[in-house]
């Protein structure tokens, strides 16, 4: 049995230690906002927060999440995420939308650790793949959601 906090609620799952957190979230707990893209931590579609840091849940065994604070795109208590979500709508960022949960979680972690990112900071932090090509709007939306200096 593995117990962790998911978006503020304690959850327990009886699964193998090595089942990736992604599949625990999606298939065991029904939180499908976090997406499967590559399975090898290359694309970032599965990005969630573990104790506030962005992690790629497709390669994160659930045993490593035990006792941690896991936050996903469904999380409603993160003011930075909420601000970014509003910016995403204002800038009409998503196209197909499949990668956007991961994009938003990566951007939220970026703004939490660096409230005033430069373009170079955004380049370095936002390594998620978007095949639709929303990058220009992702960048603009992050800039617009920065905390005023």
């Amino acid at each position: 049995m593995h117990t962790f906090k998911l978006n503020g609620q304690a959850v327990s799952v009886d699964v193998e230690d090595d089942m990736p957190l992604l599949w625990v979230l999606r298939d065991e707990l029904g939180h499908t906002g976090t997406k499967f893209g590559c399975g090898i931590a290359a694309c970032g579609a599965c990005t969630v927060h573990m104790d506030g840091a962005a992690v790629r849940s497709c390669v994160m065994p659930v045993v490593a999440a035990a006792g941690k604070d896991i936050r996903t795109i469904e999380n409603k208590d993160d003011p930075i995420l909420a601000r970014l979500q509003a910016a995403w709508v204002a800038h009409q960022v998503p196209q197909c939308g499949y990668c956007q949960s991961g994009m938003l979680m990566a951007a939220t972690a970026l703004l939490r650790s660096n409230p005033q990112p430069t373009d170079a900071d955004i380049d370095a932090a936002m390594t998620n793949i978007c095949r639709c090509g929303t990058y220009q709007r992702v960048r603009a939306a992050i800039h617009s959601a920065k905390v005023p200096a």
Binding site: D27, K35, G39, E74, V89
Partner: protein, 750 residues
């Protein structure tokens, strides 16, 4: 909301068909496609096959196209609501069922082998005939950048007709002439008295009227929605995890399936040892379907882990040793042995080549490409008591239903299909292989619903690939430096042949295919003579539609070779193109707009250069200027200025997004994209070996739209073809290296 096709609708379309619509080959009119009904919830009333209205005035628009990020769930309702006169805030959107009125008849215009400006009787008959064919076949498909082009008349007519019916009811109630009433914000208003009635109060009586004929459309100048950057209806759910993509579908008691398909395309399974796999936790069944070995488990991860323990051997095939080099040699040999089928010819090119002062020759190559949409291929299916239910993020709902019925051996009306959001399509989801597989698996599960999901590796190694292509150019130049002949022969496998072979093996024939030569035979440049030919090699690598299809490589070939001719003539590449476009003012205007916005001819910082390219596809004309530098042997694209003439613009924000997206898709391919074959199988398996552009590599894209009152062109694809040649032409300007093979590989580090 239930997406169920009404029995009535089928009867209507069936009767229409037998009633003689098949006679003749005229294009189906918008009125033919008005339809009479939609599945309704309590209180709702449908006024035709496209719109229904609830008593509270809520307007629901049925959209028969699939949302894959191109904004179709917004653009199509805009067309209808513009004419209807409802408030945009009152509009809801739902996926239309499968029915003939929703066939994408405009998409088939892409297969007509005439240039877009050809207005000959033959060209017109061909265009009308293929549209009739799409209608008769009920091809309900999202593709070919055709959604707006197809819906332009039927959906505006559906709105205008519904509006006229609502006005008629209000006028009758008031005892006034309809002409003295106007529609505003979901209400009919009587001019003199100011009396008002909401659509919701009128709709029940309106439905009893016959749809009037000859309802006029609004003038462009009156538009309140069309041409405005309306916020997309699907975006709010795509920022909070609520949007349901195919892979997110969850059905009660659902089980999960992972599949291993033969690594060599077409190989047969020889033996399967599943003893170890069946012992694993959660495994329900190990089974075979014609396409591979499947493990079904209570979680997808468990199914995938167990599948890795199944020992599978495959029978040998004739292709077990085939490599990319073999395929390239094959194309070259077939081009040498075969003159090819002539698509575009004008004048005496061979004669001009004989008399030329100079002949310029060049050979170009483009590789196979995978689609790699972010959402790996998947499908949910359930077969129970002779009924089939399928949830599939598909671009081809009508084919998906047909295939599900065929595999389960039931009538099509026993199949219910749901189309959730598509996590990228790009042409990959025109295929229905995932439906075929999921239904075949479900048939072996005693009524349990099953979610089939491919790994990224399966997705990349079992795609239908953008064909590899080889192009051989010759240009005759006379003593004055004029090009007197342009010849181009392109060897590329036919995707029409391959697609039909997958659907109806007995009906397939490798005949001339416009898909593989589009953008090569229909060039806008005024050379004295032109001869463009096609050769169609067959390989064992499956091929399919990849964003912009044949244009994706033919634009690279053609716009690169035009650039070569400009440099050979010692002319500026923009001025040179311009000089050959006298007969094409729209092309010229687009080219000039891109050049002027990009500052063509103005100095750049040291180490940077610009390249330009122009290409017409899917009814739109697009020009791009790329600004590049080279560092550590890698090309960096800093800025792309994109100009497009896509006729009347429905949603300019979507056009801009589609230009950005098309450029990223084409740039990913130009910089990194290459699927190679070794020992009969695809070598790449996931993103590091088949990379995509990342945010840090994203150029600044500036989009400029040419104002136009012409009928709409496509926007999903026309931005992709010009980017590769715009970049490689810039690389030439900077380094004097002519890139004739993609992806770009510089010969030596700069």
């Amino acid at each position: 909301m239930k997406a169920v096709v009404s029995r009535r609708q089928f009867l209507i379309t069936g009767a229409a068909l037998s009633g003689g619509l098949l006679v003749g080959c005229g294009k189906p009119t918008a009125a033919d496609r008005l339809g009479e009904g939609l599945p309704v919830d309590a209180g709702e009333v449908a006024l035709n096959g496209w719109v229904k209205i609830a008593p509270d005035g809520t307007v629901t628009v049925a959209v028969p196209r699939s949302e894959m990020g191109q904004g179709v769930l917004t653009a199509l309702p805009m067309l209808l609501v513009e004419e209807l006169g409802a408030r945009w805030e009152d509009v809801r959107v739902e996926q239309a069922p499968v029915a003939r009125i929703y066939a994408n008849v405009a998409m088939l215009l892409n297969v007509v082998p005439f240039t877009s400006d050809d207005d000959s009787m033959l060209a017109r008959v061909a265009r009308a005939s293929v549209q009739r064919l799409g209608y008769v076949l009920s091809l309900q498909v999202t593709g070919g950048s055709a959604s707006v082009r197809d819906a332009w008349e039927p959906m505006r007519l559906a709105g205008a007709t519904a509006r006229a019916m609502l006005v008629q009811v209000a006028a009758t109630r008031w005892g006034v002439a309809p002409a003295n009433c106007r529609v505003e914000a979901g209400q009919v208003i009587h001019g003199q008295t100011g009396a008002k009635l909401g659509f919701g109060e009128l709709v029940k009586d309106a439905a009893a009227l016959s749809p009037p004929a000859d309802v006029p459309f609004k003038d462009l100048a009156q538009y309140k929605l069309i041409g405005k950057p309306i916020a997309r209806t699907d975006i709010p759910a795509k920022v909070n995890g609520a949007a349901v993509f195919g892979v997110d579908v969850r059905v009660k008691d659902m089980v999960y399936a992972a599949i291993a398909q033969p690594p060599v395309f077409g190989a047969q399974i020889a033996s399967v040892d599943d003893a170890a796999a069946r012992q694993r936790r959660g495994v329900i069944k190990v089974l075979q379907i014609p396409q591979g070995v499947v493990v079904v488990a209570d979680s997808w991860w468990r199914a995938k882990q167990a599948l890795a323990e199944v020992k599978i051997s495959y029978a040998t095939t004739a292709h077990d040793k085939v490599s990319s080099a073999d395929i390239a040699r094959q194309f070259k040999a077939e081009l040498a042995a075969n003159k090819g089928f002539a698509y575009g010819s004008k004048g005496d090119a061979e004669g001009a080549l004989k008399q030329a002062t100079k002949v310029i020759e060049a050979t170009y190559w483009a590789p196979f490409l995978a689609h790699s949409a972010m959402e790996p291929i998947n499908c949910v299916a359930q077969v129970q008591a002779g009924k089939v239910e399928v949830w599939c993020a598909t671009q081809s709902p009508s084919l998906a239903k047909w295939k599900a019925a065929q595999v389960a051996d039931v009538d099509m009306d026993q199949v219910t299909l749901h189309v959730p959001y598509l996590g990228g399509g790009f042409g990959r989801r025109l295929e229905i292989d995932m439906v075929e597989q999921a239904v075949a698996i479900a048939l072996q599960l005693d009524g349990k619903p099953v979610k089939l999901l491919w790994t990224r590796e399966e997705d990349m190694q079992h795609d239908v690939y953008r064909p590899a292509a080889l192009s051989e150019f010759r240009a005759a130049v006379d003593a004055k430096g004029r090009v007197t002949a342009w010849t181009n022969r392109v060897a590329a496998p036919s995707i029409t042949y391959d697609s039909v072979r997958r659907l109806l093996p007995l009906a397939a024939a490798n005949t001339p295919d416009k898909n593989q030569i589009e953008g090569a035979f229909d060039i806008p440049y005024a050379f004295d003579s032109i001869d463009v030919r096609q050769v169609r090699p067959e390989t064992h690598v499956p091929v399919g539609s990849w964003r912009s299809v044949g244009h994706s490589y033919n634009a690279f070939f053609t716009e690169s070779f035009v650039d070569e001719l400009a440099h050979a003539a010692g002319q500026d590449p923009h001025a040179y193109r311009r000089s050959l476009l006298g007969a094409h003012p729209r092309h010229q205007a687009v080219l000039d707009l891109a050049a002027s916005k990009a500052g063509w001819g103005k100095p750049l910082p040291k180490g940077r250069a610009r390249g330009i390219a122009l290409h017409e596809s899917f009814g739109s004309i697009c020009a791009q200027v790329a600004e590049v530098s080279v560092a550590d042997g890698q090309v960096k694209v800093h800025r792309v200025v994109c100009a497009i003439d896509c006729g009347v613009v429905v949603n300019p924000d979507t056009v801009e997004a589609q230009m950005q997206g098309s450029i990223v898709y084409g740039l990913s391919a130009a910089l990194f994209g290459e699927i190679t074959v070794a020992n009969g199988r695809v070598e790449q398996s996931n993103f590091p070996s088949y990379d995509a552009l990342h945010l840090a590599q994203m150029p600044v894209v500036e989009t400029h739209i040419v104002p136009s009152t012409a009928a709409p062109g496509g926007v999903g694809e026309p931005g992709t073809p010009p980017i590769a040649p715009a970049v490689t032409n810039a690389v030439y300007a900077l380094t004097k290296q002519r890139i004739r093979s993609l992806p770009i590989r510089l010969e030596h580090a700069q």
